[in-house]
């Protein structure tokens, strides 16, 4: 799917990414984490060909991003930005989704079919004005118009920033649904609870370097790596670490282990 080999990227003589190699397979749900300025957004833009690597190669489905037009790459990769207002430019939700469909498909019946499917997936009213909707709803409109075009890969750059919990869960549950259907998801996210709940794999960036790449639970155990990236594990994992409990990340897991310890103590004292 996406393959990066020794990719570096410099901007104004400053190295933003240095020597990153990684491979993302079909159907994966990968989170990119790191502090502000670690190079997360740049990495996303390198992956979809908005930025071309200063050195190294990036391929998407075998196509080199340096030689492929971004409009062709866009057929394979959908990209949701943090700010939906940079994307939405039509006066109704229906037109906004149709705008993406017109670019992606030529077949009229296909366009109508996808429009209908997308509107019902999100439960949208096609005639509502996106500018009268809330920030969270506009983010959903932006997501809808991207996935309407049926990309195989979805890159999300902080999709939940500025959203409240309900809005956040709505976006994430749709993304989860798409991932279950086999769409590859790559997501930049600051909220470690969301990363824990949704991502299978984590890439940790610090100062432009990929300092860790692995399965979600494994990465969240690497306190030293996370510290280097100025990050903290999810709350329950931090709490568990204070007691030396290994591999505990969720409320249920923590509840079980605490109850077991209480029982043990009673046995010993009783």
């Amino acid at each position: 799917m996406i393959n990066l080999q020794n990719v570096s990227f410099s901007y104004n003589n400053e190295k933003v990414l240095s020597n990153i190699s990684l491979h993302i397979d079909k159907g994966e749900f990968t989170a990119i984490i790191g502090s502000n300025g670690a190079g997360k957004s740049t990495l996303c833009r390198i992956m979809n060909g908005l930025l071309k690597p200063s050195s190294g190669t990036v391929t998407v489905n075998g196509m080199d991003t340096r030689t492929t037009k971004s409009s062709i790459l866009a057929r394979h990769i959908g990209f949701l930005f943090q700010n939906p207002d940079r994307q939405i430019c039509k006066n109704t939700v229906g037109e906004e989704i149709r705008f993406s469909l017109d670019i992606a498909f030529t077949d009229k019946s296909m366009i109508e079919k996808r429009l209908f499917e997308t509107l019902s997936l999100f439960d949208f009213d096609a005639d509502s004005n996106p500018f009268h909707l809330s920030r969270g709803e506009r983010q959903q409109v932006a997501l809808a118009s991207i996935i309407a075009a049926e990309p195989e890969i979805l890159i999300l750059d902080e999709p939940t920033t500025g959203l409240d919990y309900v809005e956040c869960m709505k976006i994430m549950s749709i993304i989860k649904k798409l991932n279950d259907k086999g769409i590859t998801v790559i997501m930049v996210c600051h909220d470690m609870e969301i990363v824990l709940d949704f991502a299978q794999r984590i890439l940790v960036l610090a100062e432009g370097r990929l300092i860790a790449d692995g399965e979600t639970r494994e990465i969240f155990k690497m306190e030293e790596i996370l510290r280097q990236a100025s990050l903290l594990p999810p709350q329950i994992a931090r709490l568990a670490a204070r007691f030396g409990f290994d591999d505990v990340f969720y409320v249920d897991e923590m509840t079980d282990i605490v109850l077991k310890r209480i029982k043990n103590r009673r046995k010993r004292t009783g």
């Binding site: 908005l50 409009s71 866009a74 990209f79 930005f81 430019c89 991207i146």
Partner: protein, 257 residues
Amino acid sequence: MKGFFDYVPGSSYLHRLNPLTKLLLALMICIAAFISANHLFLVMLIVLNLGIGAQAGIFTRSVMLLKGLLKLCIIIFLLQVLFIRDGNVLVKLPLNIFITDGGISSAFMVVFRLVTATMPLALMLSITQINDLSNVLVTKLRIPYPYAFALTTAIRFIPVFANEMTGIIEAQTSRGVQLDTRNIFKKIKLVLPLCVPLLITSVRKIEGSAISAELRGFHLRTKNSCYKKYAVNINDICVIMISVVIVGSAILVNSIF
């Protein structure tokens, strides 16, 4: 992309001048450019501009600025050459077009003037903090503060909007809009709808700026509020005199040749 108007910090001789002096120098070079009808003098003014850039440590930017103006210059040059028919015919082209020595001379004149008149203002903004400029406009030139604030906000927002536009273009390119097309008409047709998101964000940002200023006593500001003092010292007087000399020599050169 770095803009041509944002401030480049520094402590050069020119940086340290009174903002008004810098403004005056820039304006005087512009005026001299419009007065002068002498090619050599105009070329010298361009060199002077580059010299100013070099002194202020922004020589690369000055050259970039020249390069940026080049495209426009070529278009204007061609138009002038093809449509001005004074003087002797040098070349005859089909479709009844002539190239004359007068046409070439006046084309050079227009292009030189354009360059000499554009550069000083851009250079001046590169080495003057916009707040300082606003402060002297209010304290020394007695321009009402709301106007000065509007001016500085407009200039301050140029990079913000440029950023926003870059973001919008990224978002649209990512969804497959072919903004990388070479067909200029197609491009305009594609870019126009993008003004909607830009406009909406701009209105929101300007509103935020207005509230923020209001919450920090915008309406209470008087022309004496400014804390920094902008003294005029010997350096400024020198530069002011040089500015006058530049305009003077433009007139002088005109009357001699």
